[in-house]
Amino acid sequence: MPFTDHTIELVGCRTHYRRGGKGSPLVFLHGASGAPVVLPFMEKLSERFDVIVPDHPGYGQSDEPEWLENIHDVAYFYLDFIGALKLERAVIIGSSMGGWMAMEMAVRNTSRIGSLVLVSPAGIAATGAEPADIFLLSPEDTIRKLFYEQRFAEERLALPMTPEAIDLALKNRHTTARLAWEPRLHDPHLAKWLHRIDVPVAIVWGKDDLILPVGIAHELKRLMPRAELHLFERCGHLPQVEKAAEFCDLVVRFACR
């Protein structure tokens, strides 16, 4: 299904999103490096869902609003966003930073949310599972650590670094730092309120995640005992990329029950 580009102005923030497919609504919240292109897993999901992929405030082609100071701002913004689009029973998939945003939304209000798929989300801390320091790693090392299968890293590293791509990377990095520098990649208060999430939750993690180690998945499962936990073998931080087919099957099975 082809994706089309849209812009909506919300809370003074011109927000870019891509939308494609038919079916019940599915919002994909991207991670720290943004969602600059339509990826194969998005195409695949658009066969079954109305897939909406926004650029977060401060990322990609969206504005950098003055009010954007912390992850809570993003959570309230996205509750407004799914309200403005009048989504009902939306599946929210969040990868890494996006998974953190999804949880922050859902502890506040699930009235428009049908289910959550948390894909190696940031947001909580787990003893003994230290995240990689994404702010000290070089861009190349970061990309290498994202994947178990290094051919995915090679593909990304082969992409030309145009001036536009550099600008986007710096913009995304800036907002990631604003939201996640300290406390690093988590909100110490989030864990206290995860019990408020009253919709089905699937936690998806690569066993070989070098960015957010899989120990965090077990801690998240402990905090949300009713959540399903799916661990992918031979897989890094982005199961939706490295294991796209299995990932999409899982989402369909989980969300269409």
């Binding site: 702010f135 000290l136 070089s138 600008d167 800036h174 730092a177 604003r178 300290e182 690093r184």
Partner: protein, 372 residues
């Protein structure tokens, strides 16, 4: 104030002596001797006739052993009688509360009878990694902390300060600073338009100190400061401009280079070095500045020899005559009212540091002062 006993190979191997170099490389017994040596050298500066001795703030690094310049400045306040003491500077955004900075600087000003020169900095990028302070709020926190400190020094208390980052119900400083309206404020910087616009503003007219940069860069930013003053509608005074540069004066040009070589190169190529991600975390600089640094990366992050450094004017080195002539030329062109010479750098040992200070104080300093 470097950890001069550093195992340079360990520093090289780690890629940087900042943030991640394990602190097992620090020996407190050697540290004891070093602190006392450096404090003796600073006190000796008064005896030799320097106008100002300066300390600075750096955290969790072998580059500089003064996480709190307050401690060193306090020691100097009691052991010196005439010389001014410059804190260049306190890293405002890194401090959890600016009122502490206001209080500590006021204490030193009062104890020393008004000999404090205050400096404010944001701290370098690496220190946002060590402290966890969010670099994307660095500028905001700096400006707000500055406003709170200056108001605390000058406005009758108690009053309430409600900022975005700092909120205080009762600002009511005891002690108030000795100097009126407050100690002079210097702004050390590696150079940025934002800093120059802010420091030169008619409400502030702070002394802008360009630190450790090739002389072409020093010229560019000092000129930019003067031009900015003119655009604000006033003439820049020479006292508003300063340059901080490592200097080594030897018995001859040849002896100076020979004696300084390994110590300067250790300073430039081991102590200062760090990867770009550490130096410039997101938000620490504008994204335009960051891109310029990325372009100049090979030049900025590669090794520099002493000869290249002298050629670039990154380091001023030679006989007293050579050093005087170099500064005379630079002064005629830039008219900086303040010259801060770093007489110790890297691994430069005590005997060479003292000889350097003495040669500068006797053979260069009086002649430079006569220019003014």
């Amino acid at each position: 104030m470097p950890y001069a006993d550093l195992d340079l190979a360990a520093g090289r191997k780690n890629g940087t002596v900042w943030v991640t170099l394990p602190n097992r490389n620090y020996d407190p017994e050697k540290g004891h001797r070093l602190y006392n040596r450096y404090l003796d050298e600073l006190e000796y500066g008064e005896e030799l006739g320097f106008d100002v001795v300066a300390v600075n703030e750096h955290h969790q690094t072998a580059y500089g052993l003064m996480p709190s310049p307050i401690v060193t400045a306090s020691a100097l306040a009691r052991r010196t009688k005439r010389v001014k003491i410059a804190i260049l500077g306190s890293a405002l955004p890194l401090r959890s509360h600016p009122l502490m900075v206001a209080e500590e600087h006021a204490m030193i000003d009062v104890i020393s009878g008004g000999r404090l020169i205050t400096g404010f900095v944001r701290g370098i990028g690496a220190e946002y990694h060590t402290f966890g302070v969010n670099p994307t709020f660095s500028h905001d926190r700096f400006h707000e902390a500055h406003d709170l400190i200056v108001r605390a020094w000058t406005e009758p208390g108690p009053f309430s300060f409600q900022g975005h980052h700092y909120r205080v119900q009762y600002v009511n400083l005891w002690p108030r600073p000795y100097q009126k309206p407050h100690p002079p404020i210097w702004i050390p910087s590696q150079g940025s338009k934002e800093t120059i616009d802010w420091a030169s503003h008619p409400d502030r007219r702070y002394t802008y100190l360009q630190t450790f940069s090739p002389v072409k860069v020093v010229q560019r930013y000092l000129k930019q400061y003067r031009d900015t003053c003119a655009n604000y509608g006033y003439g820049c005074e020479d006292r508003q401009l300063g340059w901080a540069v490592p200097v080594y004066v030897g018995a001859s040009d040849e002896a100076a280079r020979r004696e300084a070589k390994e110590h300067f190169e250790a300073f430039r190529n081991v102590y200062v070095r760090m990867p770009i991600e550490m130096l410039l975390p997101p938000g620490y600089t504008s994204r335009e500045s960051l891109k310029n640094v990325m372009k100049a990366k090979a030049q900025m992050f590669g090794d520099v020899t002493i000869d290249q450094a002298i050629e670039l004017g990154l380091f001023v080195c030679g006989s007293a005559d050579t050093v005087y002539k170099a500064f005379e030329g630079y002064w005629r062109e830039m008219r900086f009212g303040n010259l801060l010479v770093m007489c110790q750098f890297g691994t430069l040992p005590a005997d060479l540091t003292r000889a350097n200070m003495e040669r500068f104080a006797r053979g260069v300093l009086p002649r430079l002062k006569a220019l003014n």
